[in-house]
Symmetry: C2
Subunit: 163 residues, 2 copies
Amino acid sequence: MPYPRPDPVQPADDTARTLARGLLKDATHAALAWTDPASGAPGISRIAFGLGPDGGPLTLISALAPHRAALAAHPAAAVMVGEPGEKGDPLTHPRLMLRVNAAFLDRTAPEHGAIRSHWLQQHPTAKLYVDFPDFSFVRLAPVSALLNGGFARAFHLTPADLA
Amino acid sequence: MPYPRPDPVQPADDTARTLARGLLKDATHAALAWTDPASGAPGISRIAFGLGPDGGPLTLISALAPHRAALAAHPAAAVMVGEPGEKGDPLTHPRLMLRVNAAFLDRTAPEHGAIRSHWLQQHPTAKLYVDFPDFSFVRLAPVSALLNGGFARAFHLTPADLA
């Protein structure tokens, strides 16, 4: 039986851009793929996720998390946002995968206060730990993205498509 | 202000083993971290997930998925299961992170029929594509695991703890 094999990933269009931006805006957590500095093998973690005042993706991480040392050693990482609903095939729910470069934000940086305030609006429970010295904001600067809207509906996006 | 710094990850106990096995049993999808063969950077995907007749973690993937070629080149990967609920801080919901080695199952292997039948019980919509020649079952053999039951409740687990 013939099985169709179109080029599975299309360039972004306005519908894809709108969907991708909505997934980023709504996400309060994400999955993060990182490189284990000891073995070089991939690791994975759930992270807090949000957009900064400039619209750029951010996370807030503890120094106790395994990905803290991993991102410091290997800033290239990948992020996935977009939760499947309760019903239907989870693989038909849209999700956005970002290739990112992680950059730790110094607590003394001039923008730290604005980022902290903005973050707490979307993540109110973070007020319990955001000021602990072990916690740091990390920018997750997009390099490229893949939007998967379900089987055979995939799109490549650039950082400009997401902004 | 002093900030407590206990060893953040404890050895598994029976409660942790039961929770980890329940997360594996209930998961129908997962996040997969893989290594991009072109760049060496981490990639991430949502995958279908289930346990085989032998209790071992499995996925069913399309040759069109970017992680197909990645797993063939670098079988070391990481899997996360355990969905956050609708309410509360997503980082307080339990999740299990597995280091795995991926092994493709040949369609002509004697166990393929039993794995296919077992998979379709948990993933009924997969009957639409399970027999397409581009789809393969992949065993995700656990190497080690980390259970995170929320802040400061993390446990190391071995493959035996999960079986």
